[in-house]
Symmetry: none
Subunit: 225 residues, 2 copies
Amino acid sequence: MRVLVIEDEVGLAEGLRTGLEAEGFATDVARTGIDGLWMARERPYDAIVLDILLPGMNGYRVCATLRDEGNWTPIVMLTAKDGEFDEAEGLDTGADDFVTKPFSYVALVARLRALIRRGAGERPVELSAGDLRFDPGSRRAWRGKTEVSLTARETALLEFLLRRAGEVVSKSEIIDHVWDEAFDGGLNIVEVYVRHLRNKLDRPFGRDSIQTVRGAGYRLAVDGG
Amino acid sequence: MRVLVIEDEVGLAEGLRTGLEAEGFATDVARTGIDGLWMARERPYDAIVLDILLPGMNGYRVCATLRDEGNWTPIVMLTAKDGEFDEAEGLDTGADDFVTKPFSYVALVARLRALIRRGAGERPVELSAGDLRFDPGSRRAWRGKTEVSLTARETALLEFLLRRAGEVVSKSEIIDHVWDEAFDGGLNIVEVYVRHLRNKLDRPFGRDSIQTVRGAGYRLAVDGG
DNA sequence: GCGATCCCTGAGCCCTCGCTGAACTACAGG
DNA sequence: CCTGTAGTTCAGCGAGGGCTCAGGGATCGC
């Protein structure tokens, strides 16, 4: 397993190198975004650890550039602990996972192994409607740049609505796909969960993405409201 | 997202259920091929995980039967590690992907997601007559560029008229198709709703798309008026 | 021209549908 | 054991939509 670390801070970079090599990863280090991009293009890495704050070319741009070139090597981004925007932007540019500084090697290595196992083939796909976004892999949702925390059911409902964005889906259809067959309650449960989603994804942002089509069902606006 | 697991080995089946539900899939389990077939016919699944070795009716036959019946739900087959013929036969019978036992959940889930993403291929067609348009998927209607909001009944009536554009359809025929069989009111209701449609789709635009054919019924002009 | 038939129109009643808040259960963590 | 969270149920409410009806036009046959 060969890993590329793109990190300008020398202490951290060398720490990572020794730590990762102790874990059995062959590790290369790049000190700038440009260098890192170059190295990533030259050799097939199994994963890339990418800092965001880099001299010259920042991590987002490195990541986006690689993805544009069709390079889907798994990328773990190192984000600052206060950076709430980091992850949203990281996902936009095609990062696969995130580790918040300061971090433990254990966490980083675990993520790396998971990503490598998943492989470069399964690129991250994102479901979106306007600025409403959902990552099926990590099962997280964003309205614009702010992440919104959803429960399991809410997540499942949102995912279903997003996959059928623009279409009217009936409540019974929703129950068929979001609840399992053991469920024998009424259709009202759908109304309740639609309400939950609206309260979390629409109301705080002054949006109106989930429209009710009286007598037919609900429709998620393709432009996200 | 709703998945059907057809697997006779109880341990594996329950493991799959919990694993998949943790990933956000609503999961149903069938223990025999017959049961699985039955369940697949009953409800719309987003994907099916199908073991090959099943009591009674094996996975190939389940798969082939579903395909024969026009059911194209994505199917992932679980194949034994030594079975070289498995995949060929699976492909013949209409399987979409294969996972070799023993497998990791990560791999299975990745395949499932990929299939579901691919599977949602068909897009709604649009009904139109001149510049009068209707999208059955989103159940929205337009006259030219401006969207017109319709109630459920109005929508159903418009859809019916559009599907029979150019033909004369009688009021009783309309009642048969747009109202449910329990309806026992008079034919006047059709007149009322035709009026509603005219008020929304014709009058504001100076059009005359719904023509009344005295003594016979109504006809929607194929050119939209 | 005249009645008969068919269709249009507007007003109004009633009830379904969807929304909402609250209560209840189950379960996990501290 | 207590607390908090998620999932579900339920009953009340309010608005909007579905439907009815009666009277006024329009059109046809004679």
